[in-house]
């Protein structure tokens, strides 16, 4: 039996889920950052020019030199860039409208990406100060920071 392929075939589809509990080794620098989060401090790393990267990079983003001069930085800082999520996605850290923001913590020279729970967009402004909110139970993970809140 042979005949031309039918042109009206109903194309089949099915759900496909790719899921894995990736477990990652951190190495010493990121390990110190996560240890710090668990212990309630934020840790950055000093570059050769003295500026401080938070979160710490293991290697200088421009010169590629290995970095390991860890320093503690503040737990409040300034929003340097932000966007306002009108409708959070399922996987987002917050389930109500919030801001993604780069936050330059006191003592740091670079912004760290996290979320600001500001309630409404009108409360967000570049240059505003925000303070870190810790999770009640901390394990050494970026989610130990629940969010940042506008100061004052």
């Amino acid at each position: 039996m042979a005949k031309p392929n039918p042109s009206d075939v109903e194309v089949l589809s099915a759900p496909l889920t790719i899921e894995y509990p990736f477990r990652r080794s951190t190495g010493p620098v990121l390990g110190a950052f996560f240890t710090g989060l668990r212990e309630g401090v934020v840790i950055g790393v000093k570059r050769q020019d003295g500026s401080v990267l938070v979160p710490p990079s293991e290697y200088d983003p421009e010169s590629a030199e290995a970095l390991d001069d860890l320093v503690e930085v503040g737990q409040a800082g300034v929003v340097t860039a932000w966007s306002w999520v009108v409708k959070p996605r399922d996987k987002h850290p917050l389930d109500r409208p919030f801001a993604w923001a780069l936050i330059k913590l006191d003592g740091a020279d670079t912004g760290m990406l996290h979320v600001v729970d500001a309630g409404e967009r009108s409360r967000m402004k570049t240059g505003m100060r925000v303070a870190l909110q810790w999770a009640d139970e901390r394990v050494g993970h970026i989610n130990d920071i629940v969010c940042f809140l506008p100061e004052g």
């Binding site: 194309v11 589809s13 496909l16 790719i18 990736f22 990652r24 951190t26 990121l30 950052f33 996560f34 990267l53 938070v54 979160p55 990079s57 983003p61 421009e62 340097t80 860039a81 932000w82 966007s83 306002w84 999520v85 009108v86 996605r89 996987k91 987002h92 850290p93 993604w100 923001a101 780069l102 330059k104 670079t110 912004g111 760290m112 990406l113 996290h114 979320v115 967009r121 570049t126 993970h141 970026i142 989610n143």
Partner: protein, 351 residues
């Protein structure tokens, strides 16, 4: 450098979703067309290079399956980059520079519709500190857009005009996905998707494929009366860490444009891979393009953004216009990574 030109370009009709066909079925006609329209025997292709990624369709070794669609027998000299196919074109161009082959084929494709693209793209980020937060691609683009707004020199109105112009231009592009006449005022009246970006500031989600034939020297003249000669081809990458970058500049695009010699002579038109409206502003600045330069006559990525092919499409669209004599010198760009992290620039000239 050896003279290498784009002599043939083909692309699929880009669609929001092509659920009826798999990647091989999507790619095969495009690869057939890019060879057939210049009468090229597949056995004359000395090197083949493709760009695609497993994460979009959720299948490992996607490029292995699509090899079935190009007739790789007898065995071919072939490579693959997990990048936009504009970088596959770069690899093929390098191969041609070695002087041992004269013709190369490049293709790129993706089916983006099977997954949730903004979520999928979070998997590109630092896996320790950023990816666990699932910062989606639109949110990160919006964050860059806000930084650009804060710096000044552009506005949401300018972005709305870019969206309207792109989709109006795309009316003349039979392969475009999102076309039509839009009123910038109406766009500005819309709600934000992720402020300061509205839906119109974002690219459509696209399934599609594209292919290009490169030829060197006499082979280029054999296949085209007016080949689109590659006079500059450069790419650079920026750090991924957003906090380290000055988000209001695309340094890697500036560097690639400078190295490719974009500003050495007058540019007639540009095909810029700027998936978000504000990125066109950044790309224009980075490449030093004046307001006289026609930007994205094809409609650009705002009219169709087949991931892993959209950068290659920009080169193909620019080449087709050069080949057709619609201009003498053009620039095309490709971008990938969050907030335009990695960029490629291609300068094309007629003769």
């Amino acid at each position: 450098m050896r003279d290498v030109a784009v002599v043939s370009f083909a692309q699929s009709k880009h669609e929001r979703a092509l659920p009826g066909i798999n990647e091989v079925e999507m790619l095969m006609p495009v690869v057939g067309q890019v060879r057939d329209q210049i009468g090229l025997d597949k056995n004359r292709v000395g090197f083949t290079c493709s760009g695609s990624t497993d994460y979009l369709a959720g299948q490992a070794f996607s490029f292995v399956m699509t090899l079935d669609g190009i007739g790789a027998w007898p065995p071919i000299s072939e490579s693959h980059v997990e990048m936009d196919a504009a970088w596959a074109l770069y690899e093929a161009w390098v191969k041609l520079q070695m002087g041992e082959i004269d013709i190369a084929m490049v293709y790129g494709y993706s089916k983006t519709s099977p997954g949730d693209l903004p979520d999928v793209l979070t998997r590109q980020l630092d896996p320790y500190v950023y990816a666990p937060l699932w910062p989606d691609s639109i949110s990160l683009a919006a964050l860059q857009a806000q930084a650009v707004l804060d710096e000044g020199g552009t506005s949401e109105r300018e972005w709305a005009e870019i969206a309207a112009r792109s989709r109006a231009s795309a009316k003349n592009n039979p392969n475009a996905q999102l076309t039509g006449d839009f009123d910038p005022e109406a766009i500005l009246a819309e709600e934000y998707l992720v402020a300061p970006l509205r839906k119109h500031d974002c690219p459509p989600i696209t399934d599609g494929a594209a292919a290009i034939i490169l030829a060197a020297d006499d082979a280029a003249r054999e296949f085209s009366k007016r080949p689109a000669w590659i006079r500059g081809l450069e790419h650079r990458i920026d750090p991924q860490s957003l906090g380290v970058r000055n988000l209001t500049r695309v340094v890697s695009l500036e560097q690639a444009g400078e190295a490719a010699g974009v500003s050495k002579d007058k540019i007639d038109f540009a095909e810029l891979h700027a998936p978000f409206t504000y990125q066109e502003v950044l790309a224009k600045r980075a490449l030093g393009l004046s307001d006289e330069v026609s930007i994205n006559p094809s409609g650009g990525a705002l009219a169709a953004n087949p991931m892993m092919a959209a950068g290659l499409v920009r080169i193909g669209e620019a080449a087709d216009r050069i080949i057709a004599g619609e201009g003498d010198r053009a620039v095309a760009s490709a971008t990938q990574g969050a907030c335009m992290q990695q960029n490629l620039v291609c300068v094309l000239e007629g003769e």
